[in-house]
């Protein structure tokens, strides 16, 4: 098997055994990026010199015998994480030339563990989008069909893994931004329990929902990456102080006795028949492995999209106020006075979707509307969390489709925001409840586009979810397939 298709564990073993150096491995992926990125547009920033320097550091770390398990394995970082010395754009004109003077907590953890960076991946502007089409740097193309979107907002991350331009990548998920692109690009991605991964240095979209997580070719790879990413950070007040755990510890546990909850609301109207069939086939596979199923109800899940499109824009409207042209980032070249400078800077620096959400957010927080929108949405958010709590009394993991359909064509939904928002129908509830969720490949539709299966677990049940996904991936090979024609 080539380096490009190898698992992280296999790459780590080769690195530890000096069969390959981190520099060689990094160069291998840089070559693939150089060849494929003009087509896929998964990376916004590539800097071979910096990547190779980090790889050289990793080789030194390995040579010193002090290296951690994944030292030397190169990864790609979503361009939402601030990186000292590397440009951090968040997919926006507003930050097109912004170089942060510090590393995000997640980046620091990867550096400390000796994983060199392959570059910064493309994304929807400020993570607002489900197709990667809102990026200032142009859309990412789906490696399975370059006329189609890779999903979003972590579309560059998902696409670069699918195209084997990187063995793994970081992503962030506010309403499905790891899971939906993972489904569309046929990779595995996990959004951890809210608070497990520090948000420090991750440019905020909606603070109460944002959570970083790993994206890779398999659940096993995700488990190893999660081991690197998690840990208490005193710089993030919402970071959870917990004992360190090994997320790979339960991978090999048999599934006998596993209770899989099937929310009837996730198999209702609006779900593409091919997706439904693939998910049902996956359920049958899990049953063969010893799982039982139980129907559960998430009665308020249908309200998740309206609730989300009140709360996320409300927080975003405030979080994005700092992009005002005063201290860093884009500033309009001509303006009459202070207010004109603000207005023009933000009108020119933000794209349409970001402006739409800022307007929605400012509206729902404004005097006289706050109670009707924001407070009401917070109440329903608690009801949704309560529905999950009830469901987890009778099941260990909830299973359903990640998205209602497969990758759609570029431009197909970009004129209809509501149609676009419906893509996150199944993923948003986990964000609202702060629960961990993951997506893994479970088949292909008639057009040979990947289909994603979603697992939602109880708080801190990542090891169990990864166990279920890994056992499924042991008996299936959907996750191991790769798009053709991208050599």
């Amino acid at each position: 098997m080539s380096h490009a298709d190898a698992s992280l564990a296999a790459l780590a073993a080769q690195l530890a055994g000096k069969a390959v150096s981190s520099r060689e491995l990094t160069q291998h992926f840089l070559d693939r990026i150089a060849a494929l990125n003009p087509t896929i547009n998964a990376f916004v920033t590539v800097d071979a010199e910096k990547s190779l320097a980090e790889a050289a550091d990793a080789d030194a770390l390995i040579a010193s015998g002090q290296a951690g398990p994944l030292a030397g394995v190169p990864v790609a970082h979503k361009d939402i994480f601030c990186t000292d010395g590397w440009r951090t754009t968040c997919g926006s004109k507003m930050l097109a030339d912004f170089v942060a003077p510090y590393d995000a907590h997640v980046i620091r953890r990867f550096k400390a563990a000796g994983l060199p960076s392959l570059g910064k991946t493309n994304m929807d502007e400020f993570a607002m989008g489900s197709s990667n089409e809102t990026s200032y740097f142009g859309p990412v193309k789906n490696p399975w069909d370059t006329t189609r979107v890779p999903g979003g907002s972590s579309g560059g991350a998902a696409a670069c893994i699918a195209a084997r331009m990187a063995p793994a990548a970081t992503g962030t998920d506010t309403g499905g931004s790891i899971r939906q692109p993972a489904a569309f690009a046929g990779v595995t991605g996990l959004k951890p329990t809210y608070g497990l991964v520090s948000r420090y240095g991750m440019i905020a979209f909606a603070s109460s929902l944002d959570q970083a997580g790993p994206m890779a070719k398999s659940a096993e790879d995700c488990a190893l990456l999660l081991n690197v990413m998690t840990g208490f950070d005193p710089n993030d007040s919402t970071s959870l102080e917990r004992d360190k755990e090994d997320y790979a510890r339960d991978l090999d546990r048999p599934l006998s006795g596993l209770r899989v909850g099937l929310p009837k609301e996730f198999f209702a109207e609006g779900l593409n028949a091919e997706v439904a069939a693939a998910v049902e086939a996956a359920v049958a596979e899990l049953k063969k492995l010893g799982a039982t199923t139980v129907e559960v109800s998430l009665a308020n899940a249908g309200l998740a999209i309206p609730v989300y499109y009140v709360l996320a824009p409300a927080e975003a409207s405030s979080n994005l106020s700092r992009f005002d042209g005063v201290r860093y980032g884009y500033r309009a070249p001509d303006y009459a006075d202070l207010n004109d400078m603000y207005a023009k800077t933000r009108a020119q620096g933000f794209g349409a979707e970001v402006k739409r959400r800022i307007l929605i957010g400012a509206y729902v927080l404004s005097h006289g509307y706050y109670d009707a929108y924001y407070l009401q949405a917070q109440k329903i958010r608690r009801l949704i969390a309560h529905d999950f709590a009830e469901a987890f009394k009778v099941c260990d993991v909830i299973l359903g489709p990640t998205a209602p359909g497969t990758a759609f064509r570029l431009g197909e939904k970009s004129d209809d925001p509501v149609e676009m928002y419906l893509n996150d129908l199944y993923t948003i509830p986990a964000n609202l409840a702060g629960l961990p969720g993951m997506s893994l490949p479970c088949g292909f539709d008639a057009q040979h586009l990947p289909i994603g299966l979603q697992l939602v677990g109880d708080y801190f049940s990542e090891a169990k979810m990864l166990n279920v996904a890994h056992q499924y991936q042991r008996v299936t090979d959907w996750h191991a397939r790769r798009p053709e024609g991208l050599q």
Binding site: Y200, S318, V326, L338
Partner: protein, 475 residues
Amino acid sequence: MKWETVIGLEVHTQLATQSKIFSGSSTAFGAAPNTQASAVDIALPGVLPVLNRGAVECAIKFGLAVGATLNRVNMFDRKNYFYPDLPKGYQISQLAKPIVEHGALKIMADGEEKTIRITRAHMEEDAGKSLHEDFHGMTGIDLNRAGTPLLEIVSEPDLRSSAEAVAYAKALHTLVTWIGICDGNMQEGSFRVDANVSVRPVGQAEFGTRREIKNLNSFRFLQQAIDYEAHWQIETLEDGGRIEQATVLFDPDTGETRMMRSKEDAHDYRYFPDPDLLPVKLDDAWIDRVRGALPELPAAMQARFVEQYGVTAYDAGILTGSRALADYFEAAAQVCGQGKLAANWVMGELSAALNKAELDIAASPVSAARLGALIGRIQDGTLSGKLAKQVFEGLWAGAGEVDAIIEARGLKQMSDSGELEKIVDDVLAANQKSVEEFRAGKDKAFNALVGQVMKASKGKANPTQVNELLKARLG
């Protein structure tokens, strides 16, 4: 028509923490622009706030000191508005659930004690500074102050005159510096006052429409601004005008208030709970620990001074005007065992000298121990009041200990009666005219003789003794 002025104050006190409320940057005043502004303070993308527990502790102290309710769970909200010196585009403050509610502070107004209710006190971060001078056609931004912790203390509209407002502001100033949560430096902006002022006909129950005077940084300006504003409002109403709700600024040069923005221009701050910060939880152990570390409060100390040292309530009020003054007085009183005398000296000779030299009590060249020793020498008869003043001058000039000064300058009161008798006899012999006048019934002549004796003794004679001796001789 008789009018009544109604005033409520909002006071921003800068909390005396070493670092900022949501970052580790220093809060020290006067550093070069933007040298105390970290990634968090300048709101770089991705940064997050972490609450400084020291600021919470200051707020707890204040709540305990004004007998308020401490909200066991209180929360931070975002107040959204754009301004160049507000880096995040929002200020982190507390709206719905402040840490302190329902307190009270007693003030003296027209010789009467009055209780002013404190509605609430909440924690928030300060903004930076916009510097409009020195940047031709541009504005400089200094973010050193951005993120400095503030406690905003809001009173009920319980004040009825500028004098009451000043008395309340001063009492609050004393309290926050007393408990050590604020350095009280008004020039540096550590204690800033907004005054909400309205007027109404005496006897009317409803309040008039208020206007808010922003950012008064001295007690004198507070008084002037309220007086002007109340006068302006009364005149406007008497001329048939109406008061519109507004925010106004006080111009110290003209002594007038002028409109800053009307109610129509008021911002919609779009407050909502800050999702980056967890609710602040106060447990009993924390509160008890803070309570245990609180010093004796001004009101309690005032009562104790009356009780323990026999000073008047009025004097005790002055002596507890600051913790440094109160501590000084008490130390001096302890040394000499003479509370009333110590109070007189502290409020008299010492205060006068400090005022003249423009020195704070903490910088007094005469220590409390030495002043106490000096008073001790008056009490034991070594010094007359007049001599004591000379010794005090020596102490002020740094001439050393009390007894050394007395010795070196020969200021000891004459205690040898033989020596005094000789002086008296000499004076009587030399002033036969006065003696005859006295005997002829002129009492004034007696005083002249006393004066001559004191003069001959170079002021060291004990006046009581002189009186007695003269009376005996002339008897």
